[in-house]
């Protein structure tokens, strides 16, 4: 019985995802491709502007930046999408009895699919810039998995807040711009002042980017502290998100 339900929900998620990808705000073709190529456009811009400063001190600067932009994009589009999951699916929420977290999962799933497509371009660039393959690269998978759990938890909280306080969209956009500066996407964190380094070391986006860079460019296993911090974030936000979601969605249909 439970199994049948799960399969049903997976079906719903995939249908909703198809709708999001093909309709949305844009035409069929560009709508699909836009989120996929965005990290590459960001990478090209950042490399163009900053290569004169960082190219000598950061090995494989292009891949370094691209790793950052792809993971930042995952966080940005995953959480921003999830934030609009309840408000945007008003009609479904009122008319159907699909559990509400299905709508959150669907948004995170769409962001994840876009990232997978971006990864195709990423691998091609790894080959072009001759980054040798190594077994540590596989550790990117648990890194991304933890990130997805974290995004899911944050997304749940944002979705609930968005129902009661629509301005959150505006504030969250500003917050994400600040995170773009503060996640060492286009610079190396050792250049920062010690106080700033202490803070950036607890920024989860920075941690998952750094871990991925260690695996891919450095060919080393990221250290235990980073794994532990990211895991704590993921579990913590998962629990907090579930709690907030449970409390917040009780009278959500009435509010919508």
């Amino acid at each position: 019985m439970a199994d049948k339900n799960t399969r049903q929900y997976i079906f719903v998620i995939r249908q909703l995802a198809r709708r999001d990808v093909t309709r949305g705000n844009s035409s069929k073709f560009l709508g699909q491709i836009w989120n996929v190529i965005n990290p590459f456009i960001h990478m090209i811009t950042m490399v163009l502007v900053f290569s004169a400063i960082f190219e000598n001190s950061i090995p494989n600067y292009r891949i370094y930046v691209l790793t950052g932009t792809i993971i930042y994009s995952l966080y940005n589009s995953g959480t921003t999408g999830a934030m609009k999951a309840l408000v945007g699916n008003k009609r479904f929420l009122i008319r159907t009895r699909i559990p509400m977290n299905v709508f959150i999962i669907e948004k995170v799933y769409v962001a994840f699919i876009h990232m997978l497509y971006s990864l195709i371009g990423y691998v091609i660039l790894l080959i072009i810039f001759q980054v040798p393959p190594n077994p540590c690269m596989l550790l990117v998978i648990p890194d991304i998995a933890l990130s997805l759990v974290l995004i899911y938890g944050i997304g749940k909280i944002l979705a609930v807040i968005n129902v009661y306080f629509a301005d959150i969209q505006y504030f969250y956009r500003i917050l994400m711009v600040l995170f773009m500066y503060g996640s060492a996407i286009f610079y190396s964190a050792d250049r920062l002042a010690p106080a700033v380094q202490a803070i950036i070391n607890v920024n989860p986006i920075y941690i998952s980017i750094t871990m991925a860079r260690n695996c891919v460019i450095g060919a080393t296993c990221p250290n235990g502290i980073m794994w532990l911090t990211l895991a704590c974030y993921a579990v913590g936000f998962y629990l907090l998100g579930s709690y907030v979601f449970k409390k917040g969605t009780q009278d959500v249909v009435a509010k919508l």
Binding site: W34, H42, L48, S51, A52, F165, G182, A193
Partner: protein, 259 residues
């Protein structure tokens, strides 16, 4: 004739103000901080960026926080103004069908909102200038002139974008990414002189940077900006205004069919 013309333009100005009031109310509808946020927002950006880049990128820049803030408030005026004005025609579809107001009004009201926000952020700008003890010389007269041309540029750009948005579904996405690219190519938070020469040349022809550069030179560093920038300031704004107005006038009727 002249009299009735001025009367109707007075009336339209009233409409613009009412639309603007509605925009501002809607934007901050449920926000506790309200309009105060417009004043604080640039300071928040300034604090974070100054904090992050205190050891590098800020090297060789005198009064880095004020340098960043000058760029940030002008960039916000242009970026927020143009991207909100872009959807003005689509968003006000119903009002446009019901009334006979000139279509420009809907675009202008978004730009006006951005300008009001800019003036509010100037309050924090003045405070920062005082804190950093920046002496204002007579060259600072260029600042309001610069803002005038920036606004003219913004209006032209908004006209063009709002038409584009009606005719192309992906316009909003594309412009969103373009704004992000321009953010990095406007010399907001780094010293342009340390960039590769090709990039420097490119940035020096970016209109966003031109307006920022003129403001920085005249207010922060009390010097008359290079002719290269003064000429570009005028050419970009007048050129963009004419370009946008022509496109708008030419396509206006087709817009109504399309909507």
């Amino acid at each position: 004739m002249v009299e009735s013309n001025s009367e109707s333009s007075g009336q339209y100005f009233h409409v613009i103000r009412e639309l603007t009031r509605r925009e501002i109310k809607r934007k901050y509808a449920r926000s506790v901080l309200g309009v105060l946020w417009s004043v604080l927002n640039p300071l928040l950006y300034m604090a974070v960026v100054t904090f992050v880049f205190s050891f590098f990128l800020s090297k060789g820049i005198e009064n880095y926080p004020a340098y960043y803030l000058t760029g940030n408030i002008i960039f916000s005026l242009l970026a927020t103004g143009s991207s909100t004005a872009m959807t003005a025609l689509k968003d006000n579809r119903n009002l446009m069908l019901k009334t006979k107001w000139p279509r420009q009004i809907f675009v202008l009201s978004r730009d006006y909102t951005a300008l009001v926000n800019f003036l509010l952020s100037c309050i924090s700008y003045v405070v920062v200038l005082i804190i950093f003890q920046i002496r204002i010389e007579w060259m600072a007269i260029l600042f309001p002139i610069d803002i005038f041309f920036a606004t003219l540029f913004l209006i032209g750009l908004s006209y063009a974008l709002s038409i584009w948005d009606v005719f192309m579904q992906d316009a909003k996405n594309i412009y969103g990414t373009a704004i992000m690219v321009i953010r990095f190519l406007s010399g907001l938070f780094y010293n342009v002189d340390t960039m590769a020469p090709g990039v420097q040349t490119f940035i020096s022809f970016n209109p966003f940077y031109v307006f920022i550069k003129v403001a920085r030179d005249s207010v922060l560093y009390a010097r008359v900006p290079d002719m290269h920038y003064l000429v570009q300031m005028i050419l970009w704004s007048v050129g963009m205004f004419i370009f946008g107005s022509l496109i708008f006038r030419y396509k206006e009727n087709k817009v109504m069919e399309k909507l």
